[in-house]
């Protein structure tokens, strides 16, 4: 599962490290990091890297409370195959036994699905969380129009979101 091509890129920016990994390895990577001490999953959130492909990114913010150290694990999936394994459920360990999941990711993965359209395989209850159940589209993608009414006297603001002109 974890091999030489798991970690694609490492970034150390403003005193904080980020690992960019192969999306298929997210569950073993998080388990390996948890064994190293990064047991608290603080945040799971999505980013749309439009127009750079692969567009949809998912960030996992990990925290080691004992050493007070944080690390970010990030992966990117394309829009035509936006699937990632969910880290919420418990999984069977290869040698028998159970590898515990992160229940905290339940609502947060639902939000990433709702807003960006990333499908989390084996999520116990993957449905929209903030938007209505019958909503169409994934609002926080960068090419989704922001909508709203034009604001009077805002001459210097050009809208930056919406379909490319």
């Amino acid at each position: 599962m974890i091999g030489e091509h798991t970690v694609g890129d490492t970034v150390f920016f403003r005193g904080h490290g980020t690992l960019e990994i192969d999306p298929a390895t997210i569950v073993p990577v998080l388990h390996r990091l948890r064994d190293r001490g990064y047991s608290f999953l603080a945040s799971v959130h999505g980013v749309d890297y439009y127009p750079h492909e692969p567009r949809l990114g998912v960030h996992y913010e990990l925290l080691d409370m004992g050493r007070v150290d944080r690390v970010t694990v990030k992966l990117r999936v394309p829009t035509d195959a936006p699937e990632v394994d969910s880290v919420t459920p418990d999984r069977a360990a290869p040698g028998g036994g159970v590898l515990a999941g992160w229940p905290t990711a339940n609502h947060q993965e639902r939000e990433v699905y709702d807003m960006f359209g990333v499908v989390f395989r084996d999520h116990p209850d993957l449905r929209r969380i903030l938007m209505p159940e019958d909503y169409e589209g994934h609002p926080q993608r960068r090419d989704f129009p922001i909508g709203g009414e034009p604001v009077a006297f805002t001459y210097n603001d050009t809208p930056s979101l919406g379909p490319p002109r």
């Binding site: 403003r14 999953l41 603080a42 409370m65 007070v68 905290t104 210097n156 930056s160």
Partner: protein, 428 residues
């Protein structure tokens, strides 16, 4: 029944009271129903609580599966106050996104602005002057007290102690007056700016602040006197809906809920930001992790926040209240008349705004409800490419079903109150 009665001759009422126990709910059901073979006792009822309901602390909808009056499962349904704050912030320049982001968790607006500005300052790699850091701490801790007062008033209201609401909001009015004096606004003050604070504190602020911090511990003592030994409060909160620290950590819960379970994790002590390491304060920690500990931890935090404010005011350093980097913060108005560079900086900042070098930053702070993190991705332009607020209430809400399983509906209401959810933060 008079107080001079000997303990051996109890009235019928007192004898009946003694037979009431908070025994495990299963035994209660079995003895009430009189045998486990009754079909009706196993029937599950799904009840919809909310979204319009005085006790759900906002527009929160709960699908509660009940067996009699015992809660078996809770599914929270949220999104009724979703206003697309994160999407809106992508369309505004970094300066203009501050008021947008402030309106997320509407009771801890200084914290929202602090998390966002902290992330942008990290991206810009700009230093915050010490006076600005102390002023930020003063306002953040006032916001913490104010948020805890609203929580205390509304929670006591849920339990039936209606006068507590008015006492807490009386103190809250004093804090909002202080905010109006220093920032010009009672709520959503846009006081915390990228690089520091919007303006210095006016004359008279220090005296009013001292009057408040002198009076606050006595007031908090009075709240404690009203509630701490009240029989109804104790019966409703003691040993109801406990959850151990390990389960809370798996659910991602931080803040007073985690501290009530015994884990003293507080970002102000663990990873101090904005000069919090200059101040001497304690972290109140509970033991059992039941509703009473959650209540006691937040009440104790009010005292500690008052101490921090006193120390911050006493040690307030001189100096600028915002960074002197003119590419980030507006120059003072009097310079515009004489300096060409100041005029150009002012023009560029007001029309386009400052540009932030590309990067991604996650900046966590300790808000009244737990870890509030702001993720900002910048692509080199003057508008953020992604703003995500990791709201503590959104994550803490997942613990509701674990806490309230097997408890009565009344305990569910008390647990929701002790959870301190703010729907603005949950829905954004």
């Amino acid at each position: 029944m008079s107080s001079t009665e000997e303990p051996t001759t109890l009235s019928a009422y007192r004898r009946q009271e003694q037979s009431i126990t908070l025994a495990p709910v299963e035994e209660q059901i079995r003895s009430d129903v009189g045998g486990a073979s009754d079909e009706a006792s196993h029937e599950l009822l799904t009840l919809n609580i909310g979204p319009h309901h005085p006790a759900t602390h906002g527009v929160l909808r709960l699908l509660v599966t009940l067996q009699g009056e015992v809660v078996r499962d809770i599914k929270p349904i949220i999104g009724y106050v979703h206003t697309g704050i994160e999407k809106t912030a992508e369309d505004k320049s970094y300066w203009k996104a501050i008021p947008v982001v402030e309106r997320m968790d509407y009771l801890s607006y200084f914290f929202n602005a602090m998390a966002y500005c902290g992330a942008v300052e990290t991206l810009l790699d700009v230093e915050i002057p010490p006076r600005a850091q102390y002023l930020r701490v003063i306002h953040l801790e006032f916001n913490r007290i104010m948020s805890h007062l609203v929580w205390l008033g509304t929670s006591a209201l849920d339990l039936g102690a209606i006068s507590m609401f008015w006492y807490c909001f009386r103190e809250r009015e004093a804090i909002l007056d202080l905010f109006e004096l220093s920032t010009g606004q009672r709520m959503h003050t846009r006081y915390i700016q990228v690089g520091g604070v919007a303006e210095d504190i006016p004359r008279g602020f220090a005296e009013k602040l001292r009057k408040f911090t002198d009076a606050m511990p006595t007031r908090a003592d009075q709240y404690g006197d009203l509630l701490n030994k009240n029989e109804i409060v104790l019966q409703r909160l003691r040993n109801t809906c406990p959850l151990d620290a390990q389960k809370l950590l798996e659910l991602g819960v931080t803040g007073p809920l985690l501290r009530a379970a015994g884990n003293p994790w507080d970002l102000r002590k663990a990873a101090p930001y904005s000069s919090y390491d200059h101040f001497d304060f304690k972290i109140p920690v509970g033991t059992v992790g039941d509703n009473y500990d959650r209540f006691a931890v937040r009440l104790a935090e009010i005292y500690e926040s008052t101490r921090i404010i006193e120390q911050a005011l006493a040690g307030l350093p001189e100096g600028p209240y915002i960074t002197t980097d003119r590419k980030v913060a507006l120059p003072p108005r009097h310079e515009l008349a004489t300096s060409m560079e100041a005029l150009i900086h002012h023009f560029k900042l007001v029309t386009e705004g400052f540009r932030v070098p590309p990067g991604e930053v996650y900046h966590p702070i300790e808000s009244p409800r737990g870890e509030l993190g702001c993720f900002v991705r910048s692509d080199g332009s003057s508008k953020p490419a992604r703003v995500h607020m990791r709201d503590p209430s959104f994550v803490n809400l997942q613990a509701t079903s674990h806490m309230a399983e097997g408890a009565y509906i009344a305990d569910l209401i008390a647990t929701l109150a002790m959870l301190d959810p703010v729907l603005g933060g949950i829905d954004r």
